[in-house]
């Protein structure tokens, strides 16, 4: 240890400033302790008491600055003392100033704001939404776990104020060409979409784009809007709005089956609309006959919409093997489809397709309660798993952002000798992972190697929800999948249908 000091003559610095300089110097390499003071009698005494005796002897006058330090060696001491100018002049790194913290502050800064995008934890969501609605703002409410009571009350408030409450549990919207939440980049066009499901909106809007048309607006309603408890408040507002809005020529309404009363109200409203409305109530069969433009699934919704808008839908490219050659590739003891979905609606739609094909599937979010998986981590028979369900996402990011759990599940399924097919979805666009395929590719590779190691194949099937305008690069993602030995279908419907057809063949005795 060495002690050393320097005197700067005839320069005044504020004592607090000097204390901070001393603190910064103390943190420098090789410095154990530092003091910086104006050389007043009192301060010289303090220096002496602090162990800087020679500095205290000066000679220095009260208008001089003394910097004294204790260092590991004289090189480190001189490194500071020979460059005191820098220490006395150096600016601190600026801390960012306070930002806006409340809605009223925000409106003070941006009085013309028209939309509050709210994604706070569920227990605060209703309150924040209410504050926004009370200011006559439209609300995009991403948060879920809002109580039914709060939801009904908020929807009423939005109706009173004549504003849209998109949510709760609304993941996607596209307004005036701008995507909110998890949304894709699509061209503008004549198709308007109203949907209770985020991934449902994403699939329809991206398919409409890829089929050659475009989107006017896609209005999310939140997952419960068409239940009888809520009564379709937002869906009705959206129907009215898109009916009146000049750029929209055709409307798609997508949801799980509405409540009976709400169903009637919707049908009544549709009767007086000036534009065709395609209805897609996923998970319901038999409703279609009573509706003017029923669509069976998300892909049909898109192609019907494009057709009714006066555009011949471009056939979506995709080359894939026949069912029989796929069956031939699969190892003899392998029987079951294991679907692992990031998008809940894709899981739901796939279940509908399998059910219609007569194939029984289990799920953690089943179409019918009797088919619920006892353990969501353990597939049974054909299983289609919604990896975005609460059980998997508590305390972790959603599978559209983070693939850790899904990757683990891919490898787990591959280890079971009965697994024949992995059915996967990949969602691109805003807020999704920067490379959804890349995130899962290593696990897929290991899964396939695992199967080859057992002397037979398992098949990996997929679809990609996105457009070439999305940052992740639609074509790059497809290429990466093909390189990983994954078969890519043009839409989730196509992938599910193929999987179901193969499942049927695998189920036949004496295959």
């Amino acid at each position: 240890m060495v002690t050393d000091h320097a005197i700067i003559q005839n320069q005044y610095f504020d004592s607090v400033f000097l204390m901070r300089v001393a603190k910064r110097i103390s943190a420098a390499e090789g410095i154990e302790q530092a003091a910086a003071v104006m050389a007043t009698a009192k301060n010289l005494e303090a220096l002496a008491q602090a162990g800087f005796a020679s500095a205290a002897r000066g000679p220095a006058a009260p208008n001089d600055v003394i910097v004294a330090l204790r260092a590991t060696d004289s090189t480190h001491a001189r490194a500071i003392l020979d460059h005191l100018d820098q220490w006395l002049n150096r600016e601190e790194t600026p801390n960012s100033g306070t930002t806006v913290t409340t809605l009223s502050d925000a409106l003070g800064v941006e009085p013309n704001a028209n939309l509050a995008v709210i994604s706070v934890p569920g227990e605060y969501a209703a309150r924040e939404a209410r504050l926004a609605l009370e200011q006559n703002l439209h609300v995009f409410l991403f948060s879920d776990n809002v109580s039914l009571e709060d939801e009904v009350s908020l929807k009423q408030l939005s109706k009173e104020r004549g504003v849209l409450l998109m949510g709760p549990d609304c993941g996607t919207a596209i307004i005036g060409g701008a995507g909110i939440g998890f949304a894709n980049s699509v061209r503008r066009g004549p198709v308007g979409v109203i949907g209770a499901s985020g991934t449902g909106l994403q699939e329809i809007t991206t398919l409409v784009h890829r089929m050659g048309s475009g989107i006017s607006h896609a209005i999310g309603t939140g997952s419960h809007d068409l239940t009888d408890a809520v009564g379709g408040v937002t869906s009705m507002q959206a129907l009215d709005a898109l009916d009146a809005e000049p750029n929209t020529k055709v409307i798609v309404l997508v949801s799980k089956p509405p409540g009976q009363v709400t169903l009637g109200r919707i049908r009544q409203r549709m009767a007086s609309m000036s534009k065709p409305v395609i209805t897609c109530f996923l998970g319901s069969s038999g409703l279609e006959e009573h509706w003017p433009h029923p669509a069976h699934d998300l892909t049909e919704s898109a192609s019907e919409a494009v057709r009714l808008a006066g555009v011949a839908p471009t056939l979506l490219p995709g080359s894939y093997p026949s069912v029989s050659s796929a069956v031939a590739e699969i190892g003899p003891h392998r029987r079951y489809v294991r679907g692992l979905f990031a998008g809940g609606t894709f899981c739901y739609q796939a279940q509908q397709i399998f059910r219609e094909a007569g194939v029984t599937v289990h799920s953690n979010e089943p179409l019918s309660r009797s088919l619920k998986l006892a353990d969501p981590y353990r597939s049974v028979g054909h299983s289609l798993v919604d990896m975005g369900a609460d059980v998997f996402t508590v305390g972790r990011p959603h599978p559209m952002i983070d693939s850790t759990l899904r990757a683990q599940r891919v490898e787990a399924e591959a280890r079971y000798p009965e697994t024949a097919i992995l059915l996967l979805d990949f969602v691109l666009g805003f807020s999704a992972s920067a490379d959804p395929v890349g995130d899962l590719a290593p696990a897929i590779k290991r899964a396939r190697e695992q199967a080859e190691g057992q002397g037979n194949r398992l098949l990996v099937l997929s679809s990609v929800c996105g457009t070439e305008l999305d940052a992740q690069g639609f074509n790059r993602q497809i290429q990466a999948l093909e390189q990983a030995g994954v078969t890519v279908f043009p839409s989730a419907v196509d992938a599910s249908r193929f999987a179901a057809a193969v499942a049927i063949e695998l189920g036949k005795v004496g295959r």
């Binding site: 504020d14 607090v16 400033f17 204390m19 901070r20 001393a22 603190k23 003091a35 003071v37 301060n43 303090a46 220096l47 008491q49 602090a50 162990g51 800087f52 004294a68 600016e91 601190e92 600026p94 801390n95 960012s96 100033g97 306070t98 913290t101 409340t102 502050d105």
Partner: protein, 415 residues
């Protein structure tokens, strides 16, 4: 809705009272002559009520010093025995229309600044600010300073003030000082110079004898903290008339005794809401560090209570180093303080902050709602008795004080 309107109206009234306060420096007189309820054997102290047993080291040191100062004991040992036996009463300054910085100790013989709020007629008292005894130093040197104030400086200033008809108006000094880079708590330098400049001709006019005059002027002219005692008395004189305004959620007192931090609220008169006093985030004199520091102490947060000190730190470039040092930060801190206050002062404006008025009227509702706590810049005492000033830093009150107050408010007003 009704209660919200009542609260808004009450708070507006409180802000009006604080911003229309007109403090005048009347005199400097022995505390026993002017402070109501200050009895023969009593030491009043800073912060909320506290017993000798629970007093922190520095405040005990200061109380011992006053015991010696008054001659109630001749050694520190004797003083401690008296205090432990309860022979000397200990009460908060705030219960006696008074305030004091750091340990804040006042006894009957100690002269105090006498400030009158001409707008409402009440008076407030504050002891002198100095760098030794009030930090817990009971040495002869520390006592010597108190004796000079009692025997020479205080009486000289008192004589001078007698010649100023009606007393010395303090609003002009405060306004000018705030525009000269003071914040009136840890940077009262400009105000001190202005006060010294006003007192000197007055003392000459009053015919103060040359030796006393020289000694006093040398002291006032070289004492950057001269004005702190006065600014604190001004703060106290401005807030006392607000106590008892029904429905008001505005803080009228923030005070610490080194053991606890206490606040009082206009609509909840007579009640303290306390929590353990926090440690200060500070910068230290050579040879000292955080490990030596006591907890936050002093009535000087009365300056922040009326919108000075930490609330206008953005306008005090000399002290910016305490808070990291950049102008952006200073502005940010001031902006934060406006989120928890009710109005601004029309008279006290800060050039560096675009001439905004100082933020006035800390609202306990807003503090709890936003999570933003008032910023106080303060000096630091040692945790043990016998040491002078260790350094300076930033501290915030405990959130619990405000939550306790809010809960009591809701209960009192039937919510």
């Amino acid at each position: 809705m009704e209660i919200k309107a009542k609260i808004e109206a009450a708070n507006a009234e409180v802000v009006k009272r604080v911003t229309s306060a007109d403090p005048i420096l009347i005199d400097v007189l022995p505390a026993g002559q002017v402070i109501p309820g200050l009895t023969e054997r009593m030491v009043t102290h800073s912060g909320p009520p506290v017993t000798w047993q629970n007093m922190c080291g520095a405040q005990r040191g200061a109380v011992i010093a006053m015991t010696l100062f008054e001659g109630w004991a001749s050694t520190a040992q004797q003083a401690q025995e008296l205090l432990a036996a309860g022979a000397i009463k200990l009460e908060p300054n705030h219960h006696h229309q008074a305030v004091g910085p750091m340990a804040g100790t006042i006894t009957k013989s100690l002269p105090v600044w006498v400030v009158e709020n001409r707008a409402s007629g009440n008076r407030a008292y504050c002891r002198l600010a100095e760098a030794r005894q009030q930090f817990g130093d009971f040495s002869e040197q520390a006592l010597g300073g108190l004796r000079m104030w009692r025997d020479v400086w205080g009486p000289s200033i008192s004589k001078g003030l007698q010649t100023i008809k009606g007393g010395l108006p303090l609003k002009p000094i405060i306004s000018r000082a705030l525009q000269m880079g003071d914040e009136l708590h840890n940077r009262p330098d400009a105000a001190s110079s202005l006060l010294s400049g006003a007192l000197t001709p007055a003392m000459i006019e009053a015919g103060v004898a040359k030796d006393a005059l020289l000694s006093t002027v040398r002291w006032t002219a070289n004492n950057p903290f001269l004005f702190l005692g006065v600014s604190m008395a001004c703060g106290k004189a401005a807030t006392d008339p607000c106590s008892g305004v029904e429905y008001s959620t505005i803080v009228t007192t923030m005070a610490r005794n080194g053991t606890e931090f206490g606040i009082r609220v206009a609509g909840l008169p007579g009640e303290w809401f306390t929590a353990p006093s926090p440690k200060i985030d500070g910068l230290f004199m050579p040879g000292f560090s955080d490990a030596d520091a006591g907890r936050d102490m002093g009535d000087s947060a009365i300056t922040e209570t009326v919108g000075w000190g930490g609330f206008v730190i953005g306008g005090a470039p000399g002290i910016l180093a305490l808070v990291g040092g950049t102008a952006e930060q200073a502005l940010a801190w001031s902006r934060d303080m406006r989120k928890i206050t009710t109005g601004t002062s029309p008279d006290f404006r800060i050039p560096a902050l675009n001439f905004e008025g100082a933020p006035v009227g800390i609202d306990i509702r807003k503090v709890v709602r936003t999570g933003i706590l008032p910023v106080i810049d303060t000096a630091i005492a040692h945790k043990d008795p016998g040491y002078p000033n260790l350094g300076a830093g930033i501290v915030r009150p405990p959130m619990d004080c405000f939550k306790l107050a809010l809960r009591k408010f809701a209960s009192k007003y039937g919510v």
